[in-house]
Each structure stands twice: as structure tokens, then as C-alpha cells.
Symmetry: C2
Subunit: 370 residues, 2 copies
Amino acid sequence: VVGFGVFSRDGDEPRVGFRWGDGVLDLAAAGLGAAFESSSLNPFLALGRASWEDVTARARELVAAGAELIPVSEVAARLPLEVGDYVDFYSSLEHATNVGRMFRPDREPLLPNWRHLPVGYHGRAGTLAVSGTPVVRPSGQAVTAGDDGPSFGPSRRLDVELELGFVVGAPSERGRPVSASAFREHVFGVVLLNDWSARDIQAWEYQPLGPFLGKSFATSISAWVTPLALLEGSFVPPRDQDPEPLPYLRVAGDWALDVELEVALQGTVVSRTNARHLYWTMPQQLAHATSNGASIRTGDIFATGTISGAERGSEGSLLELTWNGSEPLVLDDGSERTFLEDGDEVVLRGRAGDLELGEVRGTVLPALPL
Amino acid sequence: VVGFGVFSRDGDEPRVGFRWGDGVLDLAAAGLGAAFESSSLNPFLALGRASWEDVTARARELVAAGAELIPVSEVAARLPLEVGDYVDFYSSLEHATNVGRMFRPDREPLLPNWRHLPVGYHGRAGTLAVSGTPVVRPSGQAVTAGDDGPSFGPSRRLDVELELGFVVGAPSERGRPVSASAFREHVFGVVLLNDWSARDIQAWEYQPLGPFLGKSFATSISAWVTPLALLEGSFVPPRDQDPEPLPYLRVAGDWALDVELEVALQGTVVSRTNARHLYWTMPQQLAHATSNGASIRTGDIFATGTISGAERGSEGSLLELTWNGSEPLVLDDGSERTFLEDGDEVVLRGRAGDLELGEVRGTVLPALPL
């Protein structure tokens, strides 16, 4: 695993570290500056691209020169960011098509806007949690088949969403769009992200203003943010877009990210896919999100939306993997799953070439008594 | 105007003040504590209900005893909060019905969930702005009638939304719902809020994940947060709810807020209404938003959604006042309006009995060149 994060050891004050494999370099102790004596990456992220690249290069040199690393087993990783806003896109063609088929079976699965813009919405920044944080099964309103109206109770259709998120370092000015070509000036790096979803709550609430309580109880991110500076070898040509996007969404260069991804449920890998399958690229997402003049802040997170491939077994949610619960998965221990059960542990993993991203791990705890 | 806010004078460091009429009491200078030497209300809000009520009472006593107030004309008011998350509800029956009729003319105006839960979604916290901040007309994708597909350009249907918002003081714990009856333990006060909306952008983008760029360019709030402690005389019985809400949404007591509201456009009052018309109350909104275990933080804002009454001229948006642009308003200067023009100034005002809330003022600036 390679990335920047925040850790504490023996109950000490949290500090910023550079993770390399099974060790963590204490960046302030290594002489890299006061920005690293912090309980979040934000002071470092606010320094801008030149600093990110300089610090990343120096951290790698120190590691290569044999600097002392703290064993990762001796540290507690924390949420690495003071999160500004959290936006979630819907950028996988296969995911959007699958969901459309299941939720709106009587209509075209892709809505008319989908191929013209990266559809997205705001999620709850205050409930982002670091990998390892348990997730209490949410309760909420849902309609059970055959019932006249909604009832309130623990979600019966708790799901995961396999996503990547990009983390904003340098802010922008109110009223000034950020062009797709300015992506690297503003974006520091990426994390894996699990956008936990209660499908029964979501299905009842989401019209007309979109997902709310079906998502807002928890969103987990990896403890280590992998800088773009270390991912340069993993950018590959994106897939074709038809129709051609409007000019503000056009961007030259290879902007798909070749990251192999997997979802493990109770130790069984239930999905394998790749982020390069996404239809909309991260620079397009950023350009779109700011095209109306909305500003961005240090610590904002923009997530891709569920990443699903075209083949069975490459979908990034149980909703799709089990086709709305109708085709249960069989785990290695012989048990079956449609949606998550109490006690289930989910791990998301990602690999860009030789470089492993920070995992996202979470266990489902039972709902609170009503 | 009565409320707590953040001001600076002569370019000095910002401080917390208590506004009373045309004066501002400097709370730190008056000996009320270090929490008021701050660029936001958050340190004060984090102290909890007993402190809010104590400070409010002491501030009123000091004012009554003739303490020196700074003329409001000598201070610059700032955004009073470090905003956590911003949630916007849709709690006016009349507004939701009007929008449903216009946006989905072929279907029942109210969707099946509307009377069972306060529909809401997350907005962009990073683009909240204090009253007086100009708003640049946003550009975005929209479909012009008769065109095959979308085009990108300045919004032609820029609108206002007249809302109240409540401000969270005391945070809650992850996984623990906040009951409706705990509302006063967590909520400090209210602000007026203008949820600027680009209707053409919104109409094209909003399905299936809800409003995004049609709203995220700017949301304006008053500079002065009026504490609940000063609004006790303005809580009145809410309107009937049919069907009876599920148990977690039931709350005893008078929770509608009798606040007279108006929207002025270029000096002409174009709408007069009252917040007591809202269908869902603020404690119900908070209970719903946390019913899935989502935590709240100091500085979170929950807005009511557009407040519209039943009569013509009591709607809280131009969309409704002009019935989707088909019935232009005539201003006092004889000019007509459907949606906002460049240079237009909008002012939202609210009054609870003798007590005036902080206004929300904003002027539309032309779109940036593309």
C-alpha cells in the first residue's frame, strides 16, 4: 500500500505519514515540515501541486535510502481528511444501465441526460469514515411488497458500492469553473470508497430529489490517499463516448485510470473489475461539477459512483451481482448472500500496476433496537 | 434584526456579535468569553443549549442596561458559520404540488412518499454565502424547446427559493438517531435562506439522482442567526398531517413557526407568505434526517425547502409566482419579470412577532464569458 494518511501511535497526537508497504514514514520527524504535524492532510493538500510532487518524491527517496519506518501494525490510522463536500457520480455505463433496468423496468434504462453529462449528487460529508470503522445497519422507511404503505425498521437490503474517489487539494474561486485540463493543479490523489447503500430505503425515498437516507448513514474511504504523482503510469485511453461531449467536457490525453478492483465478502472475492471501464473520466467530472461556477475546497471528495464491468461477476454492488436478490452469491464457506447480513465483513481492494491502494474494510453491526 | 453573527470592523480580526436592532454587541469585549473571539459561531454553538440560553439572556440584559453597541453600518458581516453539511427539504405541500404539476404534468403532482416522510437531499455546503454576496449567473447544460439535444450556456431561468434553515449546535453520535423531542438540545437557531436555482439546468439534470448544478452555484443565508431561545413565543400548532406519520415522526407540542415572510425583487414585494404553512416541522425534519443513524455536526444547516402558501402571490419562487414563466410579474417600475435578469436584487425578509430575522440580500451578476 502506498499513500499519505494520518496516524497515531500509543495514543500520541495524530500526525501525517507516508505509507510504503508495511511501514509508515513519519513526515514531520523526517524533517519535511510543520504541515505534517496535523490531524489531517488538509494543511499539506492546501500547499498545491508543486509541494505534493516534491514531498512525494522526497518521501520515496527517504524510503529508498532506508529511512526508519514505523510498522503499520503499530499505528492506528485515522480519517485522513477534514472533508469539505462529498459528491458522488454515476459514471459507469454498465452500473447505470443495470440500475435503470431494475428500478425502472418499464422505461429505457439510461435516462436521456446520461450520455451528455456525468450525473451526480451531493452526499453527506459528515458521515465519511475511515476504513475499519464498523457500520451499524440503518433503519428507515421502506415499503414491503404486498403492504399498503411504508413501515419503519432495519434495512433488509444493505449493500456496498465499489468506487474510487478523488481528493481536492487546491481550492478554486467562487464563480470560476475549473477546466478539465486544470485537473492536476487541483486534485491531489485518489482513495477507494465504499458507498454503503440501503436499497429498500433508497427505493422509497429517492424520487424526485435523489438518494438521501439510503446513503447518508456511512461512506467509508481508505486510510491512505494515493497521490496522482505515483499513478502517472496507470492512466490509459478512456473508452469512446457517443455522442461527443459538449466542449467543456472534452479533454485531451489518457484519463482513464487502470486500477484493478475487487470486492471481498467474508473472505470470498465476489467481484473483480477495473476502473478503466468507467464512461466518464475524473477530469470530466470535475469540469462538470464546477461548470456552473461552484467552487471547490481543500478536502472535497468526488467519487466515481459504482464501478461495474460488462461481464457477470464484474459488478460493483450486490444489487447487480445478485440481480436484485434473485441470484444469490455462494461464498467459499457454502453460505449464500443476496444482501449483507449482520457480522459480514466487506473489503474493497485496488491495484494500479505494482502499486496497491489503501483497502476499505468494514463490518456490519446489527441495527439498534427501535 | 436580532441574532448572533460574525463581524469585522476596520479590517480587524472577525469576532462574534449579538445584533439588536441597528447595533451589534461585541460579546468578547463585553466579557462573555473567549468563544466569541472567533471567525465563526461554531465554538459558541458547540457549548450546548445551557450556554446558548445563558449567553442569549445575558446579551439581552446588557443591551437593556445600555451597553455600548457598534452601529451596524460600521461593521462588515461575514458568513457566520463553518458549515458542516447542508440539507435541503421539500416540506411545503403547496410548493411540492406546484412543482409536480409543472415538471411532471402527466402524473399525480405529489409522489407516493411525500406525505409519509419529509423528502430532502444534500446540497453543496462549500457554496453557502452570507447575505450581500453577489451571485454570478451560472452556466450549464439545458435543453431548449425544439432542440434535439442539450447546449451549454448561461441559465435563462434563474430563480430564488424562499426558505428558513435551522442551524445545528450540539453534535450527535454516529449511529444514534436524534429524536424529534431532542430538537432543542441540538438546534441553536434559524436563518433565512435563498436557495438560488437555475430551473433550466435543474430540469435537464435532476433525474434520477436529484438537483445538483441547478443549485450548487450559490445558497445565501442571513448574517444573523436568531436563537430558538428568542423565538419561543412564535411556535404555533402545526397543520394537520394525513396520514398520521410513523411513530418516529410524531412529536408533541407546537412546532410550526409563525414567521411572516416576503420576497422583494427590485424593491417590489412579489410574495408574502408564512412559515407556519409548512407541512413538515423542523423537529420532524431532524428526526427523519438522523433516523438512519446519520450523525450531525456543529454548523450543519437544514433548510425547509421553498415556502409557498395556497394563494396566488404567496409562493416562494418565481417558478410558481409566474407559473413557469407564463404569467409575468409586473414590478413597481412597470417592468415585467418571469425569471431573474442581470442586475436584479432580491431581498428575503422574515418577522416573528416583534422580532425581525436577518435579511438575505443578493444581486445577480452577468454570466462569465464562455
